[in-house]
Structure formats: C-alpha cells, structure tokens
C-alpha cells in the first residue's frame, strides 16, 4: 500500500543561509500517528506546513497521498492535496464572520460542490462527534478556546480528509481546556485517522503516537517509537529537550 506521506531530503533555506529544513526524510503510513517535537524554531511547523503547500521547499521530493510535488509548487497539485488533507492551527483560525456551522460547510459547499443540506447534515454530525452541536448557530467569538479548537477540527474533517495535520493545537489553550481537545484527537486516532501532530504534550505522544520525530535546527535528530523516545532517547539533544520539558 502506498504510504500517505513520503518526504525525501526536504530542504528549505532562508536568505542568510539558515536552514528551516535540512535534509528531512520521513514516511507516514495509513492509520499511523506521528508526533513531531522540538524546540521553537526547529522547523517542525515549517515541516508540516509543507505537507499541504502552505510552505514551499527548495530541494527534495514530497509525495502526499500519491500526489508528487516538488520545489516548483504546482498550484493545481497543491489544490488537489488540500482537498484531501485537513489542517488544525494553533490559533484555531476560525472565520469570525461565519457561524460555527457555516465555518464547517464552507469548504464542502464551495470546494466539493456538495449540496447545502447534505453539507449541513454532515457538519451537524461532526459537531455532535466533537460534543459541540448545541453551538452550531453561534459565532466563534462566543465560544471558549477549547470549543473553538474542536470546531476547527470538525471543519478540517468536513472534507473527509485522508490525513490530518495539527500545528500545536493545544498551545494557545488554558490548561483545563487542553484535555477536551486532546480527547477529541485521541478518538480520531482510534478511528484510524492518519495524523501528524506538532505538540509538546508528552502524555498524548506516549499514548497515541506510533512514532516520535525530534527536530532541531531544521534537522531530524531522532525518530523513535514513543516508549523508547521518552524512556531512553537515543540522542543526547533529545534527552536535553525532554529534561527541559519535564521541569515545566
């Protein structure tokens, strides 16, 4: 079976010779959960943003769901990928002028050209899955951070994606709101969703992930299963990072 994500030697440089991505290679198979960790500025956000074309890269090869993109950033291929890959952002990025349900039906109606009623039915189903169907008629500013992020997950699911990307989904949340979002993500993983998650949540990574990828300065330092990474990390740099995390 074709893997969902195959990246080979992805490299992205900034003008001053700094490398956001330095020869990054990885594979994510169907139904697997990859957690990406690393200090800020290590390139982890840049990496997952290349997977749906929000970022370009200079060298290397990338194949998402069998669609190959290269440094030319072919818009039509990127559009094709975006229709099958969902993304959840740190700042939720809900559309403030649209109701919760409209946020969710926007892409199905205008990208997939599905019927409004059909999109709304599926949208309500997704909202009930996230436990927030009672908020469907409200606007994003009327919801708490945790609720907004669950709406964002429902919005990403509305296109029935084959891959979900999470860019620090709980970093902007109050501690007591983090659990409700992580629980929703756990359920998705149990249902067999392929996910790539940039996060600092060790508990989530330990329980849910199949692999942990540790990055620093644009390089992949280590890629290990979570039981090895958290108990006996192979690399000195990883151990140092985990020690820092533990102190908080």
């Amino acid at each position: 079976m074709e893997p969902i994500v195959v990246a080979k030697n992805l490299t992205k440089s900034y003008t001053k010779g700094l490398r956001a991505l330095d020869n990054v290679s990885l594979t994510v198979n169907q139904g697997k959960v990859l957690v990406v960790m690393g200090p800020s500025g290590s390139g982890k956000s840049t990496l997952i943003r290349t997977f749906n074309g929000l970022e370009t890269f200079d060298k290397g090869e990338l194949s998402i769901l069998g669609i190959k993109v290269d440094s030319t950033h072919d818009e039509r291929k990127i559009q094709k990928i975006r229709r099958r890959v969902g993304m959840v952002f740190q700042q939720f990025n809900l559309f403030p002028h649209l109701s919760i349900l409209e946020n969710i039906t926007l892409a199905p109606v205008h990208v997939q050209k599905r019927r409004q009623i059909e999109a709304e039915e599926y949208g309500m189903y997704l909202l009930s899955q996230m436990g927030i169907d009672s908020h469907a008629k409200k606007y994003p500013s009327q919801l708490s951070g945790g609720e907004q992020q669950r709406v964002a997950i429902a919005r990403a699911l509305a296109l029935k994606p084959k891959l979900l990307l999470f860019d620090e989904p709980t970093s902007a949340l109050d501690p007591e709101r983090i659990t409700e979002v992580l629980d929703a993500m756990r359920r998705l993983a149990e249902q067999g969703m392929t996910m790539i998650v940039v996060t600092h949540e060790i508990g989530f990574a330990k329980d849910v992930s199949d692999q942990v990828l540790f990055m620093d300065s644009g390089k992949v330092i280590e890629k290990s299963p979570p039981n090895i990474f958290f108990s006996n990390a192979r690399h000195e740099r990883s151990r140092k990072f985990l020690n820092q995390l533990d102190k908080h």
């Binding site: 074309g53 929000l54 993304m87 952002f89 892409a107 205008h110 606007y139 919005r155 296109l159």
Partner: protein, 299 residues
Amino acid sequence: MNINQRIFLQFGICIIIFGLIGILINNLTINLVRTGLGFNFSWLFKPASFALAEHPLPYTSSDSYVWALFIGWLNSLKVIFSSLILATFLGTLIGFARTGKNSLLGLISAGYITIIRQTPLLLQLMFWYFVGFLGLKDNMFIQIKNIFNISNQGIEFSGLTFSSEFLALLLGLSIFTSAYIAEVIRGGILSVSRGQWEAFRSLGLSERQGLIRIVIPQALPAIIPGLTSQYLNLAKNSTLAIAVGYSDIYAINDTIINQTGRSIECFIILLVSFLILNLLITNTMEIINRLILKSRKYS
C-alpha cells in the same frame, strides 16, 4: 498643572480665539462699508449675462445668477459622482493587484501609486487636458462608424458627448484618487490576519473564493472610513476644475465674484454647497458602514 493654572490657560485661549474672530468681523464690516455693496442676496435673480459651455439643463446668458450657480452645482455633481465611481473601480483593481501574488502586477501597481501620489493633482489635470485631449487632432482622431469619436473636442459616443474639459477632470480626479483608494484597500486587506488566509487555503478554497468569502467581508469595516475621507477629498479637489476651464460651482462662483464683487455672499454659497454635498457623502457612507456592522453578528 493644578486646576487654577488650567482654568487660567483655557480662559486665555478663549480670549485669543474671540479676539481673532472680532478682528475678522471688523475687517469685513469696514470693507463692506467701503465697497458700498452691503450684504444681501437680491442680485442672485439678475441676469448672469455670461455663457456656459456646459449645461445639463437649458441655460442662456439671460438666465439669472442663481440658475447659473445651480447649473454649476449640477456640473460639479456630475464630475464628482462619475469620478467617484471610476476611482473606486480603478482603486480596487490596483489595491488588489498590489497585494496579490503576481509580482509583476504588484510592481506595476506600486509604481502607479508612487507616481500618482508624489505629483500634484493640478499638474495631472493639466497633463490630461493639454497633453491628453488638446494634443489630439482637430477632429476624428479615432472614429468608428460615427458611433465612437475621440477628438480634441472630447468624446462622442452614440449621441452622448463628453467635453474634453469634463473628461480631463474625470480622468485626473479618478486616477489621482484611485491611487489613494488603492492604499486604503491594501490596508484593509492587510488588516485581515495571515491565519485567515492560511485557513481558507488549507481548506482548498481558491484565492478568488477566499477573497470574496473570507477576506473582503472582514476587510470592509477597515476600508469604509478610509474610503469616506477619500471621497470627501475628491469632492473638494473637484474645485480644481477651474484650471481646465470646466464650469463647476467654484468656477462659476469665481466668475460671479469678478462680475459683481459679491465675494462674501459667493463664499457663503460655496461653503453651503460643499457642506451639503459632503454631508451627503459622509452620511451615505455612514449608512453603508452601519449596514455592514449590523450584518456582522460577531464582535
């Protein structure tokens, strides 16, 4: 500063302001007495005895001054509202080109904005009038089967004629204002956070769909106030019509002052005409603004 000092300072400022107003009124009375004209508006109903090249309603030189002024006001309205529409159209296009992904279009529109904003409007009007229209041949510079005809007389289009004075003013005002409107539009677009762009892009929406459904609705509240002040500027700048010989309200007032010496009355007329016009523009835009804010059900 304690409260006594503050009262003293404000009292002083009031005395200065009232003093200045007093001096102005005093000068005015002295001059009115010296000219022996007095202050009245009865002369408005005497024949104007000057011709107007452009009049949307019937006008002859035997008509009254007040009719001539009304014709001038109509001429002003005609050029202001047509420039307003053209400037908004051009400005929106350029504003989007400036913020868009196409770097060549972005560069061209940045150049356009720079050149237009760094040169005086008067110069631009002169350019359109003398270089643009009077530079054309006497007749039939471009003619398509008597339907469309551009010459130094202006443009003729299936029975409708637009004088070269009107067109020079229309082009000059629209292009000048469009550069400012483009910046207002750009500011509005940039006020929408990057996250919103990333969100609609990652949902597979095209740039056009994203602009229409996500960016513009959120940018409008930031655009309307800036647009209003550009419209007010356009209305006031239209008085430069006098430079290309277009008979707007200001030019006709100027002629009347020369003929009758009634400068105080004419300035009052001018002031009231522009006040009415600009209040109309401000209030229309305020209504539009309120409708937009009302349609926003979020804070």
